[in-house]
Every structure is written in structure tokens, then in C-alpha cells.
């Protein structure tokens, strides 16, 4: 009896501690955000120099526009350099774009970016950037039409093209070349967006208690997520995207509709139903682990006496990843997920070792990544805790009124 009373009094105490620590986590994240925002802006001059390496000296025309002279007497004009900015996968990307006096692109240099290093290298090592050289400023720079993006790095490719277009048009406007009418960005709505909406519908209705063939439906949903969102489009949700939104790097909705549907859908179902259909029903990496589990006969394994230690370790990892990203204002620098490593076979040696470890563990333990390591799990728990807290406060106020 006494033990039961002790146990029941422990639950609210643990809940109180979780709320206090949750509050501390939020405060530290806000502080990191403020410190990050106060840090000095990057010096862009090295990139400007490298955009036209033969330059003798630059004449500053405005903060974002320079004239590149080839000799000290200013007789040989090499061209102009302007800073073009666009939103990549991880956040803003600034390019120093060199443009000829006739309005053609001469070259470019990446001044700053927030992309995942291996993805950025993939784009820079391809011929993508070279394909943009000599393009006139009046070109639409439209990915998919007059430019071919790099498979698996579409957002980075699009950002480079947009930044080049923006920079070249700044120069064109300055030197008085005919202005080009700004074309409104096209709404990108294709297979991944349609599949995502379908998966949300399946996930939302699928977890209702009276649904027949729930298990089969869930497997269809998981396999679709694995193949379409994982292997074909490589669009799983990562902590980098959460960081990006926290940092205020909200991308253009027209070209990032997929992400708005994903985040909006998760928050909507969470608010209405307190369920997370993404993780359970169609997360591509979760599906990959479940497939491995089906092969090896994986089960939910109890972590026994280490339960709370492992829970808080996972929370600590997620908290640290968000904190550092906000402090350095770089969303993808702490994104340690190994999704791209599996779906595109891109990543460091460490990431491949980690992937191997997780896949082997998935044979015996059900979803080991999701249960012990995924940084999105603590975010999920935090939203759940806050929702419960707010509803509790609201009900209390209603009762008192």
C-alpha cells in the first residue's frame, strides 16, 4: 500500500522534473539563438576576390556590388561582382557572382552556405556550376527546364542557380542592361508531394481503432515511404530542417511545398489527435529498420536499469545538436542522421560505420535508431509534453471559472 502511494507520488514528481528541464532546454536554446544572431557577419571579400582571380583591384560600388579592374590604371575592366543570395536545403547561401560587361556570367565563388558538407561537395564536384557559366543574366535559370539539377541535391542546385541569377541581375541593373521581368516562382507539386499527402491520409485514418487490415496498411505505407520518400527522392525529415525553421530560414513555399506539407501535417495531426503519423507510419529510415527487423525477428527490447539514462542521453544529443546549430547559425552542421548515407550512399566513413551498426542492431532490436538515437524523438516528446501541459492548464482554468 505504502509502496503504491510512493509510486503514484513519484509520477507527478518525474513529470515536474521533466517540465523544469524542458523549460531550461527552451531557455538555453533561446539564449543560443540570441548569441548566434549577435555574432559578426562573415567577411565576403575572399569570395569576391576568387570570383575573378585575375583582378588587380576592386572598386566598391555598393555593399553588394564591385567593379573588377585588371590593371592599376583602371583601363581594363574585367567585369562586375555582385552578391547573390538564395535559400538552400540548410539555409541561406551567398555566392559572389562575376558578370561580364555584356551581362554573361564569368564565374562564381561560394561565400557562405549552410548545406550539409557532403551534399555541397557533390554539387561542386559535378559539372552543375560549369553549366551555368556564360549564361546571360536574362536567362530564367529554371531548374528542370533550362538547367539540370543534381539528383539528390535538388535544393542545393536550385539555390546555386537562383543566387547566380540574382547576382547577375544586380549587375545588369547597375550597368543599364534591359531589365528582365521577374517571373514568379513556379509551384513545385509533383510525385513526392502527392505521395506525402496520401501517406498522411493513410497514417491519420490508419491508426483509428476500428480500421481493418491495420497491419497490412501500415506495411504498405512504410514500404511506400521507404521507396518514394527514401530511395527515389531522399526527403526524410531531419533535425537540420527543424533547426532551419527555428533560425528563421523559412524557404519559399512554392519550391518547398513538400516540407511545408510534412511539417504542417505532423503538427496538424499532433494537435488534433496527439499522434505522430510520420514516425510510425512512413518515416523512410524507420521503415528500413523495420524491414531489417522483419528479416532478423527483431523485438521491442527493454533497456532495464539503463532506461532513463538512455532516454536522457538521447534528449541530450538532440538538445546539443539544436543548441550548436543555433549558436553557429548553421542548421545542418549538427545533423547527424544517416539517412542520406543509406538512401544516396553519401557520407563520411564514420557515418557508414554508424549506418552498419544501426542496421545490424535492427535485426535484433526494434527500431534502435528511433528508440535510442534519433534527435526527432525528443522533439516529438517535447511537443507531446507541451500539448498535455497546455491542455491541463486550460482545463484547470475552465474548472475554476
Amino acid at each position: 500500500m505504502a509502496e503504491h502511494a510512493k509510486k503514484s507520488s513519484q509520477v507527478p514528481k518525474r513529470q515536474r522534473i521533466e517540465r523544469i528541464l524542458g523549460g531550461i532546454a527552451v531557455i538555453t536554446i533561446v539564449v543560443a539563438w540570441v548569441f548566434g544572431a549577435m555574432r559578426a557577419k562573415a567577411d565576403l571579400m575572399p569570395a569576391i576576390r576568387q570570383a575573378v582571380p585575375e583582378t588587380d583591384h576592386f572598386e566598391e560600388l555598393s555593399g553588394e556590388l564591385y567593379r573588377a579592374w585588371g590593371d592599376p590604371a583602371e583601363d581594363v575592366l574585367l567585369g562586375y561582382v555582385a552578391l547573390g543570395e538564395a535559400n538552400g536545403y540548410g539555409g541561406p547561401m551567398i555566392l559572389a557572382v562575376a558578370v561580364s560587361p555584356g551581362g554573361e556570367i564569368l564565374g562564381a565563388a561560394v561565400a557562405s552556405h549552410k548545406e550539409t558538407p557532403s551534399w555541397m561537395s557533390r554539387v561542386l564536384e559535378s559539372n552543375f556550376v560549369e553549366s551555368l557559366i556564360d549564361k546571360p543574366y536574362s536567362d530564367p535559370f529554371d531548374l528542370g527546364n533550362d538547367i539540370d539539377g543534381i539528383t539528390g541535391a535538388t535544393y542545393t542546385s536550385r539555390a546555386i542557380a537562383e543566387a547566380m541569377m540574382q547576382g547577375s541581375r544586380v549587375v545588369a541593373a547597375y550597368i543599364g542592361l534591359p531589365t528582365v521581368e521577374q517571373v514568379k516562382p513556379k509551384i513545385v507539386f509533383g510525385v513526392p508531394e502527392i505521395v506525402l499527402l496520401g501517406l498522411f491520409a493513410v497514417g491519420y485514418f490508419g491508426h483509428k481503432p476500428n480500421i481493418k487490415y491495420k497491419k497490412q496498411l501500415r506495411w504498405v505505407s512504410l514500404i511506400t515511404g521507404l521507396v518514394v520518400l527514401g530511395f527515389i527522392y531522399n526527403n526524410p525529415l531531419t533535425i537540420a530542417y527543424i533547426n532551419k525553421l527555428l533560425l528563421g530560414f523559412w524557404p519559399q513555399w512554392q519550391t518547398n511545398l513538400y516540407w511545408y506539407i510534412l511539417i504542417g501535417g505532423i503538427l496538424f495531426v499532433f494537435t488534433v489527435d496527439n499522434k505522430n503519423p510520420y514516425c510510425v507510419w512512413f518515416c523512410p529510415f524507420g521503415a528500413a529498420q523495420e524491414c531489417m527487423g522483419a528479416l532478423g525477428g527483431a523485438k521491442v527490447r527493454a533497456s532495464g536499469k539503463y532506461r532513463y539514462f538512455l532516454k536522457w542521453l538521447q534528449r541530450g544529443l538532440a538538445w546539443g545538436a539544436i543548441l550548436i546549430a543555433l549558436l553557429y547559425r548553421n542548421p545542418s552542421v549538427t545533423s547527424f542522421e544517416i539517412f542520406g548515407t543509406l538512401f544516396e550512399l553519401i557520407g563520411s566513413n564514420v557515418q557508414f560505420i554508424l549506418l552498419g551498426l544501426v542496421l545490424v542492431a535492427s535485426l535484433f532490436i526494434r527500431r534502435p535508431w528511433c528508440t535510442y538515437l534519433c534527435p526527432l524523438q525528443p522533439v516529438d516528446e517535447f511537443i507531446r509534453m507541451t500539448r498535455k501541459w497546455v491542455i491541463g492548464l486550460w482545463l484547470k482554468r475552465k474548472q475554476n471559472a
Partner: protein
Amino acid sequence: MAEKKTKRMKDIMPNVILVFVLLSTVLILIDISGNLINDGLLQIDSGADEAEPINTKQVESTPIGPTPTLAPIGDA
């Protein structure tokens, strides 16, 4: 016998999970540190008295594209 085996499995599993998580965490920390070093956000002590300012690598640019052509202006 089978019961004994199940019990033993149950006893061992938490330790196996702990080893898996700790190993993975070490790899994750190495990965994040690598990213921070590559981006110039984390400096390894090179014997200098003062730490280098953060964010130095980020301004390091990657030159792309061919050599620009010269366009002379003014009197020949």
C-alpha cells in the same frame, strides 16, 4: 531450459543496448566534431596563444568557373 535462455537473454539485453548506444553516440560526436572542424567552427589547438576567430572557414570560398575574359575599355 528455454525459460532459462529467455531469462539470460533478458539480463544481457540492457547491456547490449547500452554498448550499442554508447558506441553510436561516440560515432555521432566524432561526426559532429568533424563537421564543425570542416566548417572552421571548431578549432583544434595548433599551439597558438590565442584561439582563432570562429567561422573562418565559412568565408573561405570555393572558386568555380573558368577564367574571365578581358574586356578592355578606354583608348587602345
